[in-house]
């Protein structure tokens, strides 16, 4: 039987506010335990939550960025459950009237088979504000659990997609696009190691052609794109195998173990929580007025999707390249700096995604830390374009830039990397090479194309890489006619 995978994602993004959602405690990461937990965060009796305007504004930004409906009046609810890192006995969240509803995100799914990428639009169900819980530390405290409430009350935006993804590759592409967007508009620092962007995946399978969904299992708390893909692939395989063996899937919450690459059951539907949601009487409904929304809209930067379209139009780069180049604002700004400096969009894209990315990866540097500036790279590309440098020589100049050896023209001069422009000098070399390689000449005349390439190689070598390859081709062809 042919199976179809159905995936929906719930992503918890930690909002980049200075203070917590309902108290004036700091949200800075890594403080000593419980030093950033106020009376409100530890739920002392008699305290009241006061909503952080900054957190609401983050949600408005997100809603505008995905073209969603902003609920002009939205409501906070209590989600009741008992766990020691939730001191109030309930989490303040939004159920019936979330701040954001609807919206959509364009994703680009790289295809492994054809090398062609595929565009897809994923619709969002909703995004709502809520508070994070504290942390439980189960190491050895004489058989007890240690509780750190620094994280309790940290603002989260939970972003829920429709079950529209059909493969782990699509789920990863969506998660990446979402990650790019929330960091792009500055509402989340995107740090996955620190838990600022946590993904839950709802996964089910159904026979191809069946209209209703299969029973889903929810994989909790995936904190890397790699784990997201591995967990979904394992889960899909497990579900199909279970069904083909005549078993049935029970609704459950599962955890992914990165060490084994497997998912295992955390709780079944039978002992699923009954959260007994109700509107929080401590908080009044939140009203978003039009001037506020319009002010937030006016301050939004150009969004990744708009920039992708502009890069394709203005610089002639492919859909896939445009997506890669808008992976972060820093990268997009860098590319645009290079493209403007050299006036060659496609070449700029190749260099940024090729030579520069490889060097950055190798050195484990971020684009913002690049030792080669966008202007320098742009100048370098301009020197290829005006014939001063061949591609090969340009790579040597790039190495010089990377080492901080100075500006492009100075490096070319100092290292003698200028492409040979004197035709007479090149003609001399070509003649010498032809004289020294009668066998290759003979082979070429006998119809062996490869022999021609060998001759080009010899000429390049004799010129110590400085000959213009196009010119060499031309000269050789003329001589061999």
């Amino acid at each position: 039987m042919k199976w179809e995978t159905v995936i929906g994602l719930e992503v918890h993004t930690q909002l980049a506010t200075r203070s917590k959602i309902f108290s004036g405690s700091s949200t800075a990461f890594g403080a000593a335990p419980n030093t950033q937990a106020s009376a409100v965060d530890i739920a002392l009796p008699g305290v009241l939550p006061v909503l952080n305007k900054g957190a609401v504004e983050c949600a408005i930004k997100f809603g505008l960025a995905i073209g969603a409906t902003l609920n002009r009046v939205n409501v906070f609810d209590r989600k009741n459950y008992f766990y020691p890192d939730l001191p109030k006995g309930y989490q303040i969240s939004q159920l019936a009237k979330p701040i954001v509803e609807g919206g959509a995100l364009k994703i680009v799914v790289p295809s492994t088979d054809s090398g062609q990428s595929e565009d897809k639009v994923v619709h969002l169900t909703r995004a709502h504000l809520e508070e994070d819980a504290g942390k439980s530390l189960h190491e050895d405290f004489h058989g007890m659990t240690g509780i750190d409430l620094n994280r309790a009350g940290t603002p989260l935006l939970e972003i829920v997609s429709e079950p529209e993804m059909r493969s782990s590759a699509e789920a990863v592409a969506y998660a990446r696009a979402l990650h790019t967007l929330v960091t792009w508009i500055g509402i989340c620092d995107g740090n996955m190691q620190e838990g600022s962007f946590r993904v839950d995946a709802n996964v089910s399978v159904r026979p191809v052609g069946q209209a209703e969904f299969g029973t889903r299992r929810e994989i909790k708390n995936l904190n890397s794109f790699k784990f997201l893909q591995q967990a979904i692939d394992y889960e899909v395989h497990w579900q199909i195998e279970t069904l083909e063996d005549g078993g049935r899937i029970e609704q459950a919450t599962v955890l992914f173990d990165p060490d084994t690459g497997e998912t295992r059951m955390m709780r079944s539907k039978e002992d699923a929580h009954d959260y007994r949601y109700f509107p929080d009487p401590d908080l009044l409904p939140v009203k978003l007025d039009e001037p506020w929304i319009e002010a937030v809209r006016a301050a939004l930067p150009e969004l990744p999707a708009a920039m992708q379209a502009r890069f394709q139009n203005d610089y002639g780069v492919s859909v896939y390249d445009a997506t890669v180049l808008t992976g972060s604002r820093a990268l997009a700004d860098y590319f645009e700096g290079v493209a403007r400096a050299c006036g060659q969009g496609k070449l700029a894209a190749n260099w940024v995604m090729g030579e520069l990315s490889a060097a950055l990866n190798k050195a484990e540097l971020d684009i913002a830390q690049s030792p080669v500036s966008a202007t320098q790279l742009g100048t370098l590309i301009a020197r290829i374009q005006d014939g001063t440098l061949s591609g090969k020589l340009a790579k040597q100049v790039f190495e010089g830039l990377w080492e901080g050896a100075g500006e492009v023209d100075a490096i070319i001069e100092a290292r003698g990397l200028k492409q040979m422009s004197d035709t007479g000098e090149l003609e001399k070399i070509v003649d010498e090479v032809l004289a020294a390689n009668p066998k290759s000449v003979e082979e070429f005349r006998a119809g062996k194309e490869k022999a021609f390439n060998a001759l080009v190689g010899q000429v390049m070598k004799a010129s110590r890489g400085k000959a213009n390859p196009a010119q060499v081709n031309e000269l050789l062809k003329a001589r061999l006619q």
Partner: protein, 95 residues
């Protein structure tokens, strides 16, 4: 709608309240009078009236995003039953 003794027991368990059978029975009767009141209110025709999340037509006041709290964990932890390395210690619960 009225509650069965099992419903009462279940609600008590969710709220982590220990109840004897006698207490459950008494509570059942009390809760059912509340349900009667709800039933009476539900008989009112509310078509065309938007539900409210709060009894008054007022909206939440917002606080500027600024850190105003200081570290008071020493005072808070002075009354905690068990503390170690700045952490509150609780009986082990692993989900």
């Amino acid at each position: 709608m009225s509650l069965s003794p099992d419903d009462v027991k279940r609600i008590a368990r969710l709220a982590r309240i220990e109840t004897s059978d006698a207490e459950a029975q008494a509570t059942q009767a009390q809760l059912n009078t509340i349900f009667d009141l709800i039933a009476a209110m539900q008989a009112v025709d509310t078509r065309g009236i938007a539900p409210m999340a709060h009894a008054q037509e007022v909206f939440q006041r917002l606080r500027d995003d600024a850190v105003t709290e200081t570290d008071r964990h020493a005072a808070f932890q002075a009354v905690a039953p068990a503390v170690e390395n700045g952490l509150y210690l609780v009986p082990k619960v692993i989900e």
